[in-house]
Chain length 586, copies 2
């Protein structure tokens, strides 16, 4: 293609709202233009990259036994009500109210639709396994769209769904997708790690994320310094941590007047107690009973872990109900469980120790000092009926925690961008939507499902996060909009123009993806734009070089420049290109 015919609106201006490199550079290099909050027009350069990514994803999905289908963007809301996900998604679920008063979900994902399809069309285990996938536009009504292509309201997602007759089948399908994802990201030239992940509102028994490590990432990853464990902070476990409920009191329990002070920060400052010596007590409803989660004041609760420890169905953020049930919010201490049969306590090991503790006094506007587990809670509880206090890992893991492998490794924190996510769903959707098949014994059994997502636009953005310098984008050749750019330095001179056109046509014939900068602008502008848009290989054709019969060849990544003869330019460039391609694909 010729540069002069394409709209590649490069610019020096950085949009004020762009916080991260990929967002800034995709705008500056004319890959995208903002239409409205969280929506972008992809121009020629952006579309070419996306299409190359899509091609790789499609090939690897087909190679892994995936079967491409296309499901509607408009989905009946009734399906989402049947699985309960309408509520789980909440306001992020975008909808369209049609002229007949029907609510249509604008698909953020398609578990419900694909399960209802399988429910109608597959009836026997002989038709399994199947893996149905699509590559299509998805919508999320983000509260705060940001980071350009990373968190937009509209994006292209590859979503795949596997259906198996049993757990072993699901494990096989899941592994096949894991391997396909590795091949996809390898071929895209992306650096990535796989981490254990929380399942969130999708549900299911296990999941892993594919993360591109980079400081701009929204996700926090915890990895063992022994390189044998890596997980999203939402999911990361910690290794064994000692606890000690029996420790002797450090002093008599003392009540302190802390008017209107409900947060750890307020109380800590007022009482002059470090957050690490305070107990953070959170109240959750679990059916007709209450669960008190206790962690150290400087730690953060993991609701995912709490739910696992408590056996599920813990509901938080229900202040009114909590107050009504007699919990003075902001002033609750663990000893509120004393004498209340409807309350159980789950304590994180770091909070279950014999230190000095400050805690809520279970009385409005009051806290206590010298809280002691045995004296305040265990002893009184022992007198009542039961097993109401348990110790479990319920806080988010942190940098410095012991690795859950328990091999002496330590967790270290880093950031990443999620580009892929694979889930074992189990039977959550197949049960809700009656996707059952006859098994070998003639019994109706629900399909074991997996689901597997890849964000196409995110691959592009994260490749730019991982590949750029102060001058612009440096994309892996497999997903760059063009493989090679020819800069015709003095396009007003006929011999330069002719040489450039000849090499351009030669490269096209050799099936290279080539961009010819034939614009009537200064050489400096061409060089700057070339660096900005980040085509991996560059040929520079100028008057002076031609006088000596040679042109320059330069790689974007390391700036290495060679001089090659005009005659052998195409041959030489193709050799370098193929070398770059081979490196990228390994």
């Amino acid at each position: 293609m010729k540069y002069s015919k394409l709209i590649i609106p490069t610019t020096k201006e950085i949009p004020a709202e762009a916080e991260i490199a990929s967002h800034k550079l995709m705008i500056r290099a004319g890959y995208i233009r903002k239409l409205a909050s969280g929506t972008y027009i992809y121009l020629a350069m952006g579309v070419r990259s996306l299409q190359k990514i899509v091609r790789i994803v499609r090939e690897e999905m087909n190679n892994s036994g995936g079967q491409e289908i296309l499901m509607p963007l408009l989905q009946p809301v009734e399906l989402w009500e049947q699985t309960g996900r309408k509520d789980d998604y909440g306001d992020t679920l975008a909808t369209h109210l049609d002229r007949h008063g029907r609510v249509n979900v604008l698909a953020p994902t398609a578990e419900e639709v694909v399960t209802s399809l399988v429910s109608s069309e597959i009836s026997s285990h002989k038709q399994l396994p199947v893996n149905l996938y699509q590559i299509s536009t998805k919508i999320r009504d983000e509260f705060r769209p940001r980071f350009g292509a990373l968190r937009s309201r509209e994006f292209i997602m590859k979503d795949a769904y596997s259906f198996d007759i049993n757990r072993e089948g699901l494990d096989r399908s899941y592994r096949a997708m894991h391997e396909a994802y590795c091949r996809i990201f390898d071929r895209c030239g992306l650096p990535y790690v796989t981490v254990d992940a929380a399942s969130g509102e999708i549900g299911g028994s296990g999941s892993q994320e594919f993360m591109v490590p980079c400081d701009a990432g929204e996700d926090i990853i915890l990895s063992s310094d022994r390189n044998n464990y890596s997980a999203n902070i939402e999911k990361a476990a910690t290794g064994h941590r000692e606890h000690d409920f029996e420790a002797k009191p450090a002093g008599d329990l003392e009540k302190v007047y802390t008017p209107e002070m409900k947060t750890i920060e307020e109380v800590s400052g007022f009482m002059k107690v470090k957050p690490a010596n305070m107990l953070k007590t959170l109240v959750f409803k679990q059916e007709d009973a209450w669960v008190i989660a206790v962690i150290r004041g400087d730690h953060e609760l993991s609701e995912e872990k709490l739910n696992i420890a408590a056996g599920g169905n813990c509901v938080g953020d229900i202040e009114a109900q909590v107050e009504e049930a007699g919990f003075p919010i902001g002033f609750v201490g663990p000893h509120i469980a004393t004498g209340r049969k409807d309350v159980s306590v789950i304590v994180d090991p770091d909070a279950a120790r014999g230190d000095f503790w400050a805690a809520g006094a279970n009385e409005k506007d009051h806290h206590v000092k010298y809280f002691n587990w045995k004296r305040e809670l265990l002893d009184p509880l022992d007198e009542a009926a039961g097993d109401k206090v348990m110790v479990a890992d319920i806080r988010k893991a942190m940098d410095g925690d012991p690795s859950p492998i328990n091999d002496g490794g330590m967790l270290r924190e880093s950031r990443g961008i999620e580009v892929g996510h694979i889930f074992k769903l189990g039977t959550k959707y197949s049960k809700a939507l009656k996707a059952t098949v006859l098994d070998e014994n003639g019994n109706q059994v629900p399909c074991e499902m997996g689901c597997y997502g890849i964000g196409i636009n995110r691959i592009l953005a994260s490749a730019i996060e991982a590949g750029h310098d102060k001058n612009g984008i440096i994309l892996p050749i497999a997903i760059a909009p063009f493989e090679i750019e020819i800069i015709s330095l003095n396009n007003d001179q006929e011999n330069v123009r002719t040489a450039a056109e000849k090499i351009y046509n030669g490269l096209l014939e050799a099936k290279a993806e080539v961009l010819l900068d034939d614009r009537d602008v200064r050489p400096g502008v061409k060089f700057k734009d070339a660096d900005l848009i980040g085509i991996p290989l560059k040929l520079v054709i100028g008057k002076k070089g031609l006088e000596n019969g040679n042109i320059e060849i330069q790689t974007r990544k390391n700036g290495k420049t060679d001089h090659i003869s005009v005659e052998k330019a195409v041959e030489h460039a193709m050799a370098v290109l193929n070398k770059l391609k081979n490196k990228n694909e390994n």
Copy 2:
């Protein structure tokens, strides 16, 4: 691919709502499944066809200088308000109200967005011409979705937009698209005609539709029997038709009491006057004045033609205003213009004759007989000021009308499916959205725009309308899901299975798109399904044939069967395939 691995849910059942062949067959052959009213899941067979169509469209768009971009599905409603199209589209425009209370249009088309892009990114005539296109999902909130893939709420459209510095440039861009469209439909193997078309709510100065002729089509085409004129009924002109205002009265004007009878049918039945002898009088507002359109009772008004004759801005369907202005709806006659300076009359030639006429009496519940143009209207009008009566072609053309070429040809009616539509938009959008550029003289001028649409799903459906028989689908090879199907008749026999696999792998190596029916079902089922899904070429491998060293090769279209040797099966099949491909592409 192997049949056993794909979901191709063929069925004998015809869904009750399916009225036309393509809808019935796409369901029966397992190309699509309905999700909800007007939305369909495309299964493997459907997706493969769509992708082949997309590839052809993309190649020809790129070959014609098109530049692919991707615009959001979510469009700010404010852009639609700026061009006034929000009202023009009315309830068909689907919207999404986001969590911040903003209204997002779900794109049915993208004139506004692309024009706003060009407005920001293109500033000089030197950057023109450009042709920006995308291939993406579009939404229309159809009142009554029907005909399966032909009129669904969600579909894939290729929409292209050209920007030129002047009319001549637009003409060139328009011609280039016309030619590209011909190549696209030729390559898809579609029979088609181009017809003059009305511009509808898109606006602009000229447009043509590409129609696939077929009885199930929603559009009515009028074509001269001399093959030199063809137009959509919304647009079709008629040849010269005589009129005669001076004819003598056939009798005295006679008032008839026609209580509550407002329609032609009611009055005609009651008065025993044929509709062809009645005047149908319709009232339109034009700014502060009124336009009375008069056609014969058995004819149909073309609002498009009326608007052209009247000079634009005629607004109908405003009963309350019409009544208030003193027009007794259902009882208006042309002579109401007498003495009213705010009323002008436009009469179709067929209604401007000296026959006996029945007309409204301009008095509630009354009509008149023996209406005479000269006596009732022209003579009294002559006394007042002016030129208030004009004769113009304002009715829809009909079968039997003279061709507008005025060469003695006669218009004949047929039906078609619109698969493509090209428009000269002019400056409607570029003015409204300020897409201006500096011309050679340094003046800011609005771009001359064209827009060009192709319905991807419609190409598939109309190809099926044009190509099927009682047994199923017959698709052109260029857009069939597979090129060749191998039927392994006795898949339980090892030698049959081995021979089938060998030929299957041979064809895959030769780059054929091949489907192997390896299912454990009866031969009859395989034959029926093969006919139904309509793969152009079929190889039948069975026990008996193999004993004689041969297999059968059969074309779907004419059922022609040959026997070929097992050894040369791949070679022979590829030769037949290539012949089919060459025919299709011419």
